[in-house]
């Protein structure tokens, strides 16, 4: 090529921004700092990308998670080196556990300073190596575009997850010819369709089952809206009941006839009993998590287990299955439907099975003693659901009792509406996630169902909502306790409430006003509906301090180390102590 046709050189920062735009990025959650100043300067000159300035880097990562989960697009984070990166680590680990696609761009000190304990230096690739799906340290601007492209492929394909790209400051500044194009990598080849021999076997097992169950998880949501549609069709064809993990809520509609409710530690009696008693279990994009299985040697002892998962390492990790299928769960369900229809299978006569389920449902495990004096936390969720269900709200949560009550008493009919920290269990997730979800869905009603303890862990993000005029609602179930800790101390440690009281709480209404939000407080069950209506009518962010009964426990509950059949349904069945084996389990 002659000099006349030389391709113009661009800086690493410009190449980065160009590649983000090429990958369809329109929103970035970040916080500037010394080691990312060149990128922020490039951002300043490109108006195509909207930057959301958070108030803490943990908030950036959780906001990107909320954006990703509610839109199905990868969330992008931009933070500086050292403390910027380490603050983002909790969100990266959270996204890794819950399989959320994130691209995390971190600044790094210049390549010649790496390892010299330079100002704001941290070994970001070392720290994030085992809590990310993959990570990179880019040492040459010529490698940036291909690295970013591969990172997007890795983050979004297969089992999604966070990918970290650490970019030294001199690599952001240095220029390179922009025609550098490394061959697109083919080293990442996620599973797609399933083998038809396996699908045929799965369909045969399901069609001949007398007591089948579909156990669904976050994989169905991650596989995309069509996977949720396929699940509904498959459930209809085979007539089996459907339960879901915390992560999978909304994939099958809670208003559907086959819905049993969530399973697991705080799942419904009917879901857990059906899991225990089924003869064929079809696990769709779930991973037999310890919150779901309870005591492993008593987990669904007599069933044939089929497990469809895109990640082979999720299969046979804790529970041995009879028919493992490594495939995209949406594609595999479509194949099952095709085979089912092709072979003209009829749903087996499941009347006996449904009669038994009806018996378990009659236990009415989510019932609670209501009160006219105090707002029961379950009642608050029920009223919030009743007031918002026609608005198709996006619900985020923090972690604890309020999260489980929300999972039990709020009902989801569509995927991507329920954003909660499942695997890592990160308090402080809900508010930034709501910010991210509202950025991605400007017209949606976004509500963070929170606890008074969790909300304080990322409360600084109230300012982010104010700045971007995000009308998020924070609905705090305020019982003045770290409720789940208090509950475990009551059940396992003979009510020795060590450090679990939420002392010195702020005045949440005054706090809301200080941030330019509206604050509402309610402690009277008779006035709750009116107060919720006031919250929903306000065109702007609202913090709702819902004063609830202080010592309510979340039931039903499978105690630590117990089997599905040993559920505690009511507080009068609680012994107040546990043996060491049970105490040692998380």
């Amino acid at each position: 090529m002659s000099e006349d046709f030389a391709v113009p050189e661009k800086s690493g920062a410009e190449i980065l921004i160009d590649t983000l735009i090429e990958q369809g990025v329109d929103t970035v959650f970040g916080y500037p700092g010394g080691a990312v100043l060149p990128i922020y300067d490039a951002l300043f000159q490109h108006k195509k990308i909207r930057h959301v300035l958070v108030r803490h880097e943990a908030g950036a990562a959780h906001a990107a998670e909320g954006y990703a989960r509610s839109t199905g697009k990868p969330g992008v984070v931009l933070v500086t080196s050292g403390p910027g990166a380490t603050n983002a680590v909790t969100g990266i680990a959270d996204a890794f556990m819950d399989s959320i696609p994130l691209i995390v761009l971190t600044g790094q000190v210049a390549t010649n300073l790496i390892g010299s304990d330079a100002f704001q230096e941290a070994d970001t690739v070392g720290i994030t190596r085992h809590c990310s799906k993959h990570n990179y340290l880019v040492k040459d601007p010529a490698d940036l575009a291909s690295t970013v492209r591969e990172a997007f492929a890795i983050a979004t394909k297969g089992r999604p997850g966070p990918v970290v790209i650490d970019i030294p400051k001199n690599v952001q500044v240095a220029t390179t010819s922009t025609d550098v194009k490394r061959a697109t990598s083919s080293r990442f080849n996620p599973a797609g369709e399933a083998d038809y021999a396996e699908i045929n076997r799965a369909v045969e097992l399901l069609a001949n089952a007398k007591a089948p169950i579909l156990y669904t998880g976050g994989g169905v949501i991650n596989s995309g809206p069509d996977a949720s549609a396929a699940l509904r069709e498959l459930a209809e064809l085979c007539g089996a009941p459907v339960t879901s993990t915390l992560m999978g809520l909304g994939a099958y509609p809670a208003s559907g006839d086959a819905w049993l409710g969530m399973l697991g530690m705080h799942g419904t009696y009917e879901a857990n009993m059906a899991m225990n008693q089924c003869d064929v279990m079809l696990c769709l994009g779930a991973r037999f998590d310890d919150r779901v299985t309870g005591r492993l040697d008593a987990f669904s002892p007599d069933s044939i287990k089929i497990h469809i998962d895109i990640d082979r390492s999720s299969i046979n990790k804790t529970v041995r299955v009879d028919l493992p299928i490594v495939a995209d769960v949406g594609a595999a369900m479509r194949q099952m439907i095709e085979v089912w229809k092709g072979r003209k299978y009829k749903a087996a006569a499941l009347d006996d099975w449904w009669a038994r389920i009806k018996g378990w449902r009659a236990v009415d495990c989510l019932s609670y003693a209501d009160s006219t004096q105090e707002i029961m936390p379950q009642y608050a969720i029920e009223r919030l659901f009743a007031a918002t269900k026609d608005k198709s709200p996006i619900i985020t949560t923090e972690v604890g009792q309020h999260q489980m009550w929300a999972a039990q008493h709020f009902h989801f009919d569509a995927p991507n509406k329920w954003l909660t920290s499942g695997g890592l269990g990160t308090m402080g997730y809900g508010l930034p996630a709501a910010v991210g979800a509202q950025m991605g869905n400007p017209d949606a009603l976004v509500i963070d169902i929170a606890g008074e303890a969790s909300i304080q862990m990322n409360i600084q993000e109230m300012a982010t909502a104010t700045q971007y005029r995000l009308p998020v609602k924070v609905f705090i179930l305020n019982n003045e306790w770290m409720g789940m800790v208090r509950q475990w101390q009551e059940l396992t440690y003979e009510s020795r409430f060590s450090e679990s009281y939420s002392d010195s709480l702020p005045d949440f209404v005054a706090l809301a006003e200080a941030y330019g939000w509206k604050g509402i407080r309610c402690s009277d069950p008779a006035k709750l509906d009116e107060a919720i209506a006031e919250m929903l009518a306000y065109d702007g962010p609202v913090m709702f301090d819902c004063r609830v009964h202080k010592t309510s426990n979340c039931f039903p509950m499978i105690p630590s180390g117990a089997a599905h059949t040993d559920m505690i349904l009511h507080s009068d069945e609680v012994s107040g102590t546990m043996d060491d084996e049970a105490k040692a389990l998380v």
């Binding site: 190596r129 085992h130 993959h134 340290l137 080293r187 390492s313 990790k317 043996d579």
Partner: protein, 171 residues
């Protein structure tokens, strides 16, 4: 309450990986973070264009854990292929050790005699020391090192195991 120990099996795994910064740390760190054992680990570039390395890991665990180890290795982006030589069938394993002994008189003669029996080669000698080079399976090397302890062992360096499938096919 006491911590229970489980019965374990020894497996030799070979991994074909991208030869790039951080790959070894990613694999070794994954073993640590998930609580898997590493008895030995060897790694070297094996490709003409220096893009691919082969890692041989000797690990121990109950069969389901070995299965998980393989799945977790395969999940790492730079790992292209994992073969469980122990599971795959007939294979050879070799390790190299350098063994230094010090002594004079009968002890020195005995060390030399034993080295001869074990087909160890002398690669350095002074009037009162030898360095032997020995290759073989880990048992042979363990036994040889144990014998050398009796005749003046000073120090030993071992490479860890490399292995290949027997026969004409690659793994």
């Amino acid at each position: 309450m006491h911590i229970k120990q489980e019965l374990t099996e020894r497996h030799v795994l070979t991994l074909t990986v991208d030869n790039e910064a951080g790959t070894l740390a990613r694999i070794a760190g994954m073993f640590t973070s998930r609580g898997y054992n590493i008895d030995s680990l060897t790694v070297a570039d094996i490709s003409e264009d220096h893009t691919t390395s082969r890692i041989t890991i000797v690990t121990r665990g109950p069969p389901p854990v070995i299965d998980q180890i393989i799945a977790q290795c395969e999940r790492l982006i730079p790992v292209h292929k994992v073969t469980d030589l122990t599971e795959a069938g007939p294979h050879v394993e070799r390790e190299l050790a350098l063994v230094k002994v010090r002594g004079t008189g009968d002890q020195r003669v005995e060390a030399m005699r034993l080295a001869d029996i074990y087909r160890a080669r002398v690669i350095d000698a002074t009037v009162n020391s030898f360095i032997f080079e020995i290759t073989g399976g880990p048992d042979k090397i363990d036994t040889f090192v144990a014998l050398m302890r009796e005749v003046g062992l000073v120090e030993v360096g071992r490479t860890g195991i490399v292995g290949l499938m027997r026969g004409a096919e690659g793994s």
